[in-house]
Amino acid sequence: MPLRLLKYGLSKDYPVTGDIPATPDLKPSYDVVIVGGGGHGLACAHYLSKYHGITNVAVLEKGYLAGGNTARNTTTIRSNYITKEGIAFYKEGVQLYEEMSEELDFNVMFSQRGQLTLAHTEATLRSFHLRAEMGKHAGTNIEVVDAQTVKELSPHLNMDEGGPLEIIGGLWHSDGGTARHDAVAWGYAAQASRRGVEIHQRTEVEGFDIEAGNITKVRTNRGTISAGQVMIAVGGMNYDMALKAGVELPIRCFPLQAMVTQPLKPWLHTLVSSVSLHTYLVQSSRGEIVIGGGSDPYQLYSTRSTLDMKEHLAEGATHLFPFLHGVRLLRQWAGITDMTPDYSPIMGASPLKNLWLDCGWGTWGFKATPVAGKYMAQTIANQKVAPMLEPFTMERFATFDLLNEMGATAASH
């Protein structure tokens, strides 16, 4: 038994660590106001407080802590992107996950079991080669593998030899993995609040006061506060929140659905994802099979789920692993994704001098939680966009400097 548990076993009363302090009263003024108490906002608060000595920070969350897309995503962590800017960014994200449990003294259960993306067509295989070449050149662990190796990596796959969805190869990204999403947010929250960051749950931002290109005040349902710097990181509500500050983001919102089965003893080791079937599967450490796919086909700000998507995902899952037909689904859910035109995020400066954006995370935000937090904190602390984030400027849409990451995986996660 791990020694740390002795503390609990040998204490008369339960020794409280107090991960998340109760929401305090709002102060009149903060150096930094982070709008959004999800993984990104909390990570930024952690980096600000630990590495930049900025602790007069308020994180404002309209609901409960990390209850938006942090709570809803299917936790894929990977760096097998196409653009060199994306690869460099996400690669550091993976590295930060590798050290996160230690950094936070909180087990985020980063499980680097590798991601296997399947190719059923030559065109897909060609795109995998590009991903692999770009990734290898940037030093990530990624390779195109043949059908035989696919079979070895995931022995129970239906290869559909001679069929219309024959697996002809795959992209093997051994750095890929998953982490416990809630723990990531809670770990950052615990660290940041220990250093003095205030976390305000049930605190909804209703508007901003703007003077001479600066946000002067943040109006909330619990009162109005002054802010030195403001960051927006509210996931599916980014467009709406930025609009409150008069900033119109190139974002459209779509629901993204996922579902989970009853727990099973381990049989699926890697993450498996099929581009053609728009389906991916991963077995959690609890034994559940988490199944996800692409976004809903039309714009909607709702976390309702649909039967159609469930049927579609079940078709994909039982095609890849036919013996799953008798396995029972326990729950389905959805999140609201803020999709950009090029499937890359929008980070950095805004038209307002002290408003910083951490938006456009679509279906791919969780994996970037630490790296976005790190560089957004650096950006806010220096009031200058960190070089790592420069390519992700919202200005790229005015200049056609797009960072095209379309068609990344089953759902571009």
Binding site: Y239, D240, L243, P250, R252, C253, Y298, Q299, S302, F397
Partner: protein, 88 residues
């Protein structure tokens, strides 16, 4: 499954339809600045309230417009694109 009422074919399951996104103004390429043209290309109405958007009824290849609340998913009405022409 949601029902969408096609102006030509009547109420149908929404999986018979394909969304073509929010209606955009078609600015004059001759007179629009680069900045505004880029905005035209990359921005779309994403408000949390009622949006007007294009839909295609796939089996009949008929394009029409819908006013739909993007938060409640309530369809307020659907109409033939000739209404746009008439309004211009």
């Amino acid at each position: 499954m949601k029902i969408l009422t096609c102006p030509m074919n009547g109420p149908r399951n929404i999986n018979e339809f394909q969304s073509f996104g929010p209606l955009k103004a078609n600015p004059d390429p001759e007179t629009t600045s680069d900045q505004d043209w880029a905005r035209h290309l990359f921005r779309a109405d994403n408000t949390r309230g009622v949006i007007v958007e294009w839909w295609r009824h796939v089996p009949s290849n008929y394009f029409f417009l819908a006013e739909r609340n993007a938060t409640t998913n309530e369809v307020i009405r659907t109409f033939d694109p000739s209404e746009l022409e008439a309004a211009q």
